[in-house]
Symmetry: C2
Subunit: 202 residues, 2 copies
């Protein structure tokens, strides 16, 4: 691979983000993205199967990272805490690297705009939850507790992430995730303590 | 509309389910589905925009039904209980109508098989959560509590639904949803009471 292909992924992603914003995701070809990045279509397809995948590069790494986090938690840690801690670790890169945070925000604006991207993002989040559930099971957490902790953790992450994207005060992603986790605890306790558990007792 | 178009939606859905199972979702055309149902392509497109939508007919009605359920809960009901109760009402049709339950199970088997269908299903669930959150806000629940209750409720519903699909004992969907809600309460209480809330206190 020649020097002119240095950081090909980053250059293609940046070119794609620019063109997906203007003229628009649906109006841009792989050839145009490659050209803007100063690379060939062939190089594009070495890294991405199609123009959608430019925005989802690294999703498998993220899954593996969360699984490792789940497996690394001290024995006896409550399942929901295990998932919350593993997902909190994900927020660190955005909170320590402003360029990465900026990329994440711009990427999310596109995902909100295009249903096709939104659905792919939801698919990746569902895969992340499935991986976290599998890792919890390897820790000895039975089902449905493992799936519940994983799906709930990812749901809370999603809410915290959206709050982070929309925060005019630009507080850190970790802050919003912690706030969302506290919010879930408050909701669950409220439901448990006010005796309003009609569904459970039917 | 002539008599020969009686129950066109049901006939097209049944024909599609059969053909999506064999020869397969990716191998079948709208013309073949219409022919199997004894209807024309024109009639197909009167109800569905494409072959994917056959499996998601009625999603808007479901959203409206859940919103109504959220708005109808007695004042002062905890937000998570409001969502759980509204989603529990959704299970009734499957639990009272074996043909509908059978349709839901066959449909879900296809959704599991094809990524394209899986992503669309996740998109519909996300829209359902957004509607439930909007309805909670109309009840005066602030954000992020409204989003958290809605997203968590839908996550729990998803787990309960999967358990129902896979249950060899064929217990009712309502049973699995209640069990999943109880499971979430147990996880949240375990996390709150063992002091294992490292994420909240960072």
């Amino acid at each position: 691979m020649g020097r002119w292909e240095d950081n090909a992924v980053g250059r293609l992603q940046e070119a794609a983000l620019e063109l997906y914003g203007d003229p628009g995701y649906d109006k841009v070809t792989v050839a145009e993205i490659s050209e803007r990045a100063g690379l060939t279509r062939r190089t594009f397809f070495r890294y991405f199967s199609d123009k959608r995948e430019v925005l989802f590069f690294g999703a498998e790494k993220l899954e593996a990272f969360v699984m490792e986090g789940v497996l690394a938690a001290p024995p006896g840690t409550p399942a929901l805490e295990v998932v919350a801690t593993a997902l909190a670790a994900v927020t660190r890169r955005s909170d320590e690297d402003p360029a990465f945070a900026d990329f994440a925000r711009r990427r999310h604006a596109l995902i909100r705009t295009y249903a096709e991207l939104r659905e792919r993002e939801l698919g990746k989040l569902a895969a992340l939850a499935a991986s976290a559930a599998a890792a919890l099971q390897r820790r000895g957490v039975a089902n449905p507790a493992a799936s519940l902790a994983a799906e709930t953790g990812v749901a809370v992450f999603k809410v915290g992430f959206e709050r982070w994207v929309d925060d005019p005060r630009r507080r850190k992603m970790g802050h919003h995730l912690r706030q969302a986790m506290r919010g879930l605890s408050a909701l669950a306790l409220e439901r448990a303590t006010t005796g309003g558990t009609a569904v459970d007792n039917q």
